[in-house]
């Protein structure tokens, strides 16, 4: 075993030990240490021994914490979802498609050895490609994904990935940053100090205390990388850490998603197909971490000049500075490596499949059923209507009004014509032509407001308030609260409507509630008499 390997292992052990020590008892920070290692060490996928689903890391999530579930349900049903966490898109309802997608989730869920939380597929009016999941178990499937995937296996791969984020509690990362930023910085600082102590000796031969590096060349890489990363975390806060952590969560979701789809009898090669499509969708982009590191390189070097504490630690600082100065180039590889890219995720996943599922990985995808369903008379015309509405939006942005009108008119002949996404496009086309009354009637034609986005609610509530119809505004706000699970979002409008109705008790109550929302309180204050 090479000295480098021994050093890497020692670093890994000390990092993990320190991180675990510092993160002990902090439930929201599970995974922070793994994220650190994902940046400075080998990939998540290559470290997994056996099938990911069976590892201790995953087994800890088999059992649902009833308190946690109840807290999430309460949030979702009890109007306590923070405004920033509310879905932003209109929901699309095509019943056979909905049943089909929910069925895939059910089939995937049977492969989960633990207790399964409630998972609900929602098709959204977006032509992005990637699905997403929220902590309440909603799996959002954009129309752009359905437009591009060619087999049920591909859909299963992407839904399995999103389910995995929910099953592995990945949304806790956001909470971690809100609550524990200081702890993270302490972890990073301690990690670098531990590395320094482990690799630094004291030379007394010259008669004075002098810190020396036991293995300057070997230490350069580890210290350089650790110091660089630590400097980033300390100086530039959560941006890079959060990205790294997110990266490691994507890797974990790829692994668990693959396990689930294979258990459900799907062809794992479809996961590779979807990652290739994601790569094509995103195009060639610079690594997020790479560009961040480049931007911060100069700032980091400047910040180093301020690292003066006292004479005793000066020698350590010098080493630290040298480590950072020499390590910037070497460490850059960690930030700039294309580990962020879908194609690298694909490569890592294929290697995992070859290691763990050599027998199953060649199974062919079955494209027939999905393509038949997509082309069926119960689904195809509705999907086409949404495509037409999308084309109308594209035409509008290109200032092709006549074309936009034609596409919108066609969308309005479909069975989904009264759904929010279709009427939203028609609203825009009318507004672009100055037809305000017609535009308003598009919004009034929406039949099921439970599918509407916050933006549509906003438009309609504002209209009712402008028209001096506070009762209609309040009725719609009540619907928005039920649908979106948040009282915060329209609390200012609710206050305004109650003022118009001269309901002082409600106004007082709402004013008190509003003061608790930092982003709303100023708006409410303006409405209230001094």
């Amino acid at each position: 075993m090479s000295a480098g390997t021994v050093r890497d292992r020692a670093l890994h052990t000390s990092l993990c030990a320190l991180a675990c020590l510092l993160l002990g008892g902090c439930g929201t920070l599970k995974g922070a240490d793994a994220a650190f290692m994902n940046l400075v060490g080998p990939s998540t996928q290559s470290q997994v021994k056996g099938r990911y689903l069976d590892t201790a890391d995953v087994r800890q999530y088999y059992r649902l914490d009833p308190q946690r579930v109840s807290a999430q349900r309460l949030s979702y049903d009890g109007m306590a979802v923070p405004a920033g966490e509310i879905r932003q898109h209109n929901v699309v309802l095509i019943p056979p498609l909905q049943t089909y997608l929910q069925g895939i989730v059910g089939r995937l869920g049977k492969g989960w050895p633990g207790e399964l939380p409630a998972l609900q597929v929602k098709v959204i009016d977006s032509y992005g490609f990637g699905p997403s999941a929220d902590p309440y178990g909603n799996l959002f499937v954009p129309l752009g994904m359905l437009d591009n995937v060619q087999s049920e296996d591909e859909i299963a791969a992407m839904l399995g990935h999103e389910m995995s984020h929910v099953l592995l509690h990945h949304h806790d990362r956001r909470a971690a940053f809100q609550q524990q930023n200081a702890v993270l910085s302490n972890v990073a600082t301690s990690v670098v100090l531990a590395t320094m102590i482990a690799d630094t000796g004291v030379n007394r031969s010259s008669g004075s205390l002098k810190f020396i590096s036991k293995d300057p060349q070997g230490m350069q890489k580890t210290v350089g990388n650790t110091v660089l990363y630590t400097a980033l975390v300390n100086s530039f806060s959560e941006n890079i850490w959060s990205t790294a952590w997110g990266r490691s969560q994507e890797d974990q979701a790829d692994l668990l998603g693959a396990d689930l789809m294979i258990k459900a009898g799907y062809a794992p090669r479809a996961a590779s197909h979807s990652l290739q499509r994601l790569s094509d969708f995103q195009g060639k982009q610079k690594s997020l971490l790479g560009s961040f590191a480049t931007q911060r390189k100069e700032a980091m070097q400047a910040s180093l000049q301020n690292l003066q504490v006292d004479r005793l630690v000066k020698e350590v600082e010098v080493t630290l500075n040298q480590g950072l100065a020499t390590g910037i180039t070497a460490a850059g590889q960690y930030f700039q490596r294309s580990h962020m890219s879908p194609l690298d995720r694909d490569t890592e996943l294929r290697q995992y499949l070859q290691r763990q599922y050599d027998g199953q990985r060649r199974a062919p995808v079955n494209a027939d059923y999905w393509q038949r369903l997509r082309a069926s008379s119960a689904v195809a015309p509705s999907l086409q209507a949404y495509k037409d509405a999308y084309a109308a939006t594209v035409a509008l942005e290109q200032k092709k009004l006549r074309e936009a009108q034609l596409f919108s008119d066609r969308a309005l002949t479909s069975a989904v014509r009264d759904q929010p996404g279709i009427r939203r496009a028609a609203f825009s086309v009318d507004m672009a032509q100055g037809k305000r009354r017609e535009a308003l009637s598009e919004l009034q034609s929406i039949k099921d407001w439970s599918l509407a986005s916050p933006e549509l609610y906003d438009l309609m509530i504002a209209h009712h308030l402008r028209n001096d119809d506070p009762r209609a505004a309040l009725a719609l706000i009540a619907q928005a609260e039920r649908t979106l699970g948040s009282e915060e979002l329209f609390i200012t409008e609710k206050l305004a409507a109650n003022q118009r109705l001269k309901d002082d008790a409600q106004v007082k109550l709402l004013a008190r509630k509003c003061a608790q929302y930092p982003t709303r309180k100023d708006g409410c204050k303006k409405l209230l008499p001094a």
Binding site: G128, F129, G130, P131, S132, E162, R269, Q282, T393
Partner: protein
């Protein structure tokens, strides 16, 4: 030669097939297949020619491509390979209208992958 045969030949020799190359091996050893996907043996990557290799034909239903290895034409599973042309989408991110690029998500969601860089 019938018209259909001509069209099939034209499709097989189309620039898209001829332009595709095997850019890397993603498995070791490689499994050599016949045109029906049946295994014909294994080949360690160290004994395979260095990529890029020209793809001679494709079999989309079986996810196979034909290449020449050591003077012999063989079929390989695309799971073992990185091809120059992968699976694609019809609406790449850059072509989305501005309103869709902005494509706001709720802050709490975790997605399959991030969107494209905004212009």
């Amino acid at each position: 030669m019938t018209r259909i045969t001509f069209l099939l030949l034209a499709a097989l020799c189309s620039p898209s097939v001829l332009a595709t190359t095997v850019d890397a091996y993603e498995a070791d050893p490689l499994t050599l297949l016949d045109e029906h996907g049946k295994s014909q043996g294994r080949l360690p990557v160290k004994d395979a020619p260095k990529p890029p290799l020209q793809v001679l034909a494709t079999h989309p239903n079986l996810d196979q491509v034909q290449v020449e290895l050591g003077g012999r034409k063989v079929w390989l599973d695309t799971m073992d390979l990185r091809l120059s042309e992968g699976k694609i989408v019809t609406t790449p991110c850059e072509s989305l209208p501005i309103s869709q690029k902005a494509d706001t998500r709720n802050a709490s969601t975790i997605g399959f992958g991030s969107g494209c860089s905004k212009p």
